[in-house]
């Protein structure tokens, strides 16, 4: 069983790295965003950001972009094309459980996010006087929690959407409003109140909040944790039911 899982994981990682578009949108896009927005906003310390600068505050937001794009576009696209191409059917004929297939995807998602985060922070540290995050060690488990909980949303979409085309269309339609309104691309504290209210209805907002608060020294955000927890429970339940039916 372990050998099978390790092999499945290796295979999924290889396949991810063979998709140039996937690597670009999930790993390199936030770096590109940093190269454009970093020089515009600079990294002067600001009281709005608890003594941190704009580039500092971009970091947790851009990490949330990776989590969002992989979970909402990458994962559903992979699962839907697996269904379309008969890959899920071939797996079904083998002695492996759907949980193993999902599990390997979730681990790939975590690895991609950690890889992307490392590239992003490395680039930022080279180009700007980046400040160290307030709680670097607590950010690691937070990143885990945020990625795994958000990836369940991807499994849900991947269980419902039958074709790669549908997955791409729906995934992007869900992701793009979140990209701007959750505060991932632009700090939410700069938004007018009505925009903040719309953002409050978006799950990605709580990924941003969780990571940002730890980054700028405001500790664990209980509300964000609770909402992400509810997201995991609801998604897994729905995804299991819907996946069984497919």
């Amino acid at each position: 069983m372990r050998r099978a899982f390790v092999q499945l994981l290796r295979t999924e990682l290889r396949l991810f790295l063979r998709e140039p578009m996937a690597v670009f949108f999930n790993v390199l896009f936030p770096v590109l965003l940093l190269l454009v927005m970093g020089p515009i906003f600079g990294n002067e310390a600001s009281s709005v950001f608890n003594g941190y600068g704009s580039v500092d505050i971009f970091m947790p937001g851009f990490v949330a972009i990776m989590i969002g794009s992989y979970s909402l576009v990458g994962l559903p696209l992979t699962l839907a094309s697996y269904r379309e191409q008969g890959v899920l059917k071939r797996f079904r004929a083998a002695p492996i459980s759907p949980g193993m297939v999902f599990g390997a995807q979730a681990v790939v998602c975590v690895l991609v996010v950690f890889l992307g985060t490392a590239v992003l922070i490395g680039t930022a540290a080279l180009l700007f006087p980046l400040r160290s995050p307030d709680a670097p060690l607590q950010l690691v488990p937070a990143l885990f929690i945020a990625t795994l909980s958000f990836s369940t949303l991807g499994f849900l979409l991947g269980s419902v959407l039958r074709t790669a085309r549908a997955a791409q269309a729906v995934g992007n339609a869900v992701f793009f409003p979140m990209l701007f309104l959750s505060g991932a691309a632009m700090p939410r504290m700069l938004f007018p109140e009505w925009m903040q209210n719309i953002g409050a209805a978006m799950p990605l907002t709580y990924v941003v909040t969780l990571l940002q608060d730890l980054w700028i020294g405001q500790g664990w955000n209980g509300t964000a944790l609770l909402i992400l927890g509810i997201l995991v429970g609801g998604n897994l339940l729905l995804a299991t039911v819907l996946f069984r039916q497919s």
């Binding site: 295979t11 290889r14 191409q85 008969g86 059917k89 002695p95």
Partner: protein
């Protein structure tokens, strides 16, 4: 030793339509068994229910003596399934696919040897999407057999293959069986089934209409030859019934099929010649499973499958 596959009173409905209707058959260890019938007869649904891939609405199923719904993983470790419409990720290479699927089983064949045996060594680094139809099918077979299963199910393995690849596939099915694996062949190709199978179950609208060895089924027709031709204008095929070689005559529009025994062709030719109108498409063939199917259901397989433009 338990039967390789035991199916009793299997039933499956989809949205109010009965796709498999009270189907029963048994596959004995060591044989090549054919589940045959036209597209839409319920073959795929039946075999997927029988192997635990789908859940039947009613019926009793045992795979190698085990209930595939109670112990799915145990059954899948001993069974190879080449299901219809199953594929692999586009960018996965042949060698990686074999490595991956071999890791699912405790006792899988060594990779190098497997690539060699299935004629895939040359293509080991080729991505799945770049393989030809025949190569994809060979890889599918290799993956279904990588753990040396006791039973292998091959659903429509001849579909979409050119004649040479079809011949090659027949050879492979024979050699799989010779190595001690029981084979269930699901197909709408009557010729392949007749050439390969020890026994066949003929399905129509979810029901089994005939079950037995192909030659026993054709023997029961009471005719060894079939002569077909397009009736010339004004010709009444009923006149052929008087010949002592003729067992039965069927007509569908201008198409006539005469069943009987040799020398049937010369007898029919003589009658037609006496009227001075020998049709250019006059031909005789040994009776086959197709004729069994026709007799049992009153309809022919879809025209494209039998090579005919009209059914009898």
């Amino acid at each position: 030793m338990p039967s390789a596959l035991e199916v009793q009173h299997l039933r499956k409905n989809y949205g109010g339509t009965t796709v498999v209707d009270d189907l029963s058959f048994t596959v004995e260890a060591g044989e090549i068994f054919g589940l045959i019938g036209p597209n839409g007869a319920g073959k795929t649904t039946a075999i997927e229910c029988a192997t635990g891939v789908r859940t039947p609405d009613a019926g009793h199923v045992r795979v190698l003596g085990t209930d595939p719904h109670a112990l799915p993983q145990a059954v899948r470790r001993r069974v190879g399934l080449q299901l219809q419409e199953s594929g692999l990720p586009k960018r996965l290479t042949v060698a990686e696919a074999i490595e991956l699927f071999a890791s699912f089983y405790p006792s899988a064949a060594p990779q190098e040897e497997w690539l060699e045996r299935w004629g895939l060594a040359k293509h080991h680094a080729t991505a799945y999407a770049d393989l030809s139809g025949g190569q994809k099918q060979r890889l599918g077979l290799a993956l279904a057999l990588v753990h040396d299963p006791d039973l292998v199910v091959l659903d429509e393995m001849f579909a979409g293959l050119d004649p040479r690849a079809r011949m090659e596939s027949q050879q492979r099915v024979r050699s799989i069986c010779e190595q001690g694996t029981t084979v269930v062949l699901v197909t709408h190709f009557m010729d392949e089934a007749e050439a390969l199978c020890d026994r066949v179950a003929l399905l129509d609208e979810g029901r089994c209409v005939a079950l037995g060895p192909p030659n026993a089924l054709t023997n029961r027709l009471g005719a060894s030859v079939r002569v077909r031709f397009t009736a010339p204008d004004g010709f009444d095929p009923e006149t052929l019934m008087g010949l002592d070689r003729v067992a039965s005559v069927r007509q569908n529009h201008a198409q006539v099929a005469v069943y009987g025994h040799d020398p049937l062709l010369s007898a029919v030719t003589k009658v037609l010649d006496e009227r001075g109108r020998r049709p250019s498409d006059l031909r005789a063939e040994p009776t086959s499973l197709e004729d069994v199917f026709l007799r049992e259901t009153g309809t022919a397989l879809a025209p494209a499958l039998t090579g005919e433009t009209t059914g009898f």
